[in-house]
């Protein structure tokens, strides 16, 4: 599922589920009908008696669905009523994942269906501890994390997402690669085109895998700047490994292209992180996109021009 393929089909039917020997006194935990979220929660409740109320979020996880409002006050109230929860349980408490809070107004849920919302921890693995503590979060339970493993697990999605643009760019590069003094040379198209595609791949890997992995250690705050820096280093390694593209012009063109692409791809990674704000991303993009575009255009011009001066 992390690969971003066929995620839409990983759904759980919305409604009320019974875990163990759930009864009138058992807690009610609310989640989204994304199979990953549901399974994560059910795994943690092994050996516990509880109810799980699954909201219809079209298979989308809690946080993203809360941002869109599908994991929201209206849907929650509807599901509570549809399940006739007030007859099943004697208490009036719903435990929600904390990351559902952007979509749910606790006070409105209470006004509309009489149930009190308690926000549980961010991670399902802490939910049992949270309940045993008398519904109190311990330090760390409320903060989102972004560990190296979490960052790296996102790389495949970014890489798969870049395949289609890469295919289009490759077709264009093979065509452009053939342009030269002899108008068009199939041999050149193949050779120079393949070199240019390799440069694009290096840029994508720099922006989608290396930048996320090295994120906390890269200087600056803007993702585009971090990506450009990684791209420049990758370009250096690329040039050192590929002895054929020596000389100033191919060197400059490769560096511009790899860092420009890496910067753009890294900037797109902002959407996958749990700490970037839309205002910040928009500000960053207004500054970075013209620079990224300029470096790509300049790199392409140098690369095409180089064919004529050889």
């Amino acid at each position: 599922m992390r690969w971003g393929i066929g995620r839409g089909s990983w759904r759980v039917a919305p409604g009320l589920y019974c875990v163990g020997e759930a009864g009138p006194g058992s807690p009610v935990l609310v989640t989204a009908n994304c199979k990953m979220s549901f399974d994560a929660l059910r795994r943690e409740l092994d050996g516990v008696d509880a109810w799980i109320l699954v909201l219809d979020t079209a298979g989308v996880n809690v946080w993203c669905a809360a941002g869109k409002g599908t994991f929201g006050t209206g849907e929650l109230v509807r599901r509570v009523r549809a399940a006739r929860l007030e007859r099943l349980v004697s208490h009036r408490r719903l435990v929600l994942p904390q990351l559902g809070a952007p979509g749910v107004a606790a006070h409105r849920v209470r006004e509309e269906c009489g149930f009190t919302v308690t926000y549980g921890p961010v991670r399902a693995k802490d939910v049992l501890r949270f309940m045993e503590n008398g519904m109190k979060a311990e330090p760390g339970m409320r903060a989102v994390t972004f560990t190296a493993m979490e960052r790296l697990s996102l790389a495949p999605v970014e890489l798969v997402g870049s395949l289609k643009p890469l295919a289009w760019a490759s077709a264009a590069l093979f065509l452009l690669g053939g342009i030269g003094p002899g108008i068009f040379s199939p041999g050149n198209a193949w050779h120079r085109g393949a070199g240019a595609v390799a440069v694009c791949v290096a840029g994508i890997l720099g922006g989608a895998a290396l930048t996320p992995l090295l994120l906390p250690w890269l200087p600056g705050r803007a993702f585009s700047a971090k990506g450009a820096l990684v791209g420049a280093v990758v370009a250096g390694a690329f040039l050192a490994a590929d002895g054929t593209s020596t000389g100033a012009i191919p060197g400059v063109a490769t560096t511009l292209a790899v860092s420009g692409i890496s910067s753009f791809v890294a900037m797109n990674f902002t959407g996958a992180t749990p700490f970037t704000s839309p205002s910040g991303v928009e500000k960053e993009m207004r500054r970075a996109i013209p620079l990224q575009a300029a470096s790509a255009v300049l790199a392409a011009a140098l690369w095409i021009g180089e064919a004529f001066i050889r």
């Binding site: 971003g4 995620r7 839409g8 994304c34 298979g59 989308v60 996880n61 993203c64 809360a66 941002g67 869109k68 904390q98 990351l99 809070a101 952007p102 979509g103 749910v104 107004a105 606790a106 006070h107 926000y119 961010v122 979060a137 409320r142 903060a143 989102v144 994390t145 972004f146 994120l215 906390p216 705050r221 803007a222 900037m267 797109n268 902002t270 959407g271 996958a272 992180t273 749990p274 700490f275 970037t276 704000s277 839309p278 205002s279 910040g280 991303v281 928009e282 500000k283 960053e284 993009m285």
Partner: protein, 92 residues
Amino acid sequence: MRGFSYLEGVSTLRLDPGRCNGCGLCEQVCPHDVFSVSGGKAAVVDRDRCMECGACAMNCRPAAISVTPGVGCATAIIGGWISGAKPSCGCA
């Protein structure tokens, strides 16, 4: 999450302490420890950590908090620029 602050001074988060009743919900729901509630009043500890998720404002009953929530996703913002609509993310 410390060390993961994003750009400075851009968050749209605003708190009106005059309206706050000290319920503490903002502190509970914020995934980035932006608030600290003590003595019956909420205070913004570090506005630059805010990612504009909107959880605090959504759950502040007296509407002491305002923030423009949205997705911090470059692809979505480009889409929004092109279509002129509010950015929406293909996040799953």
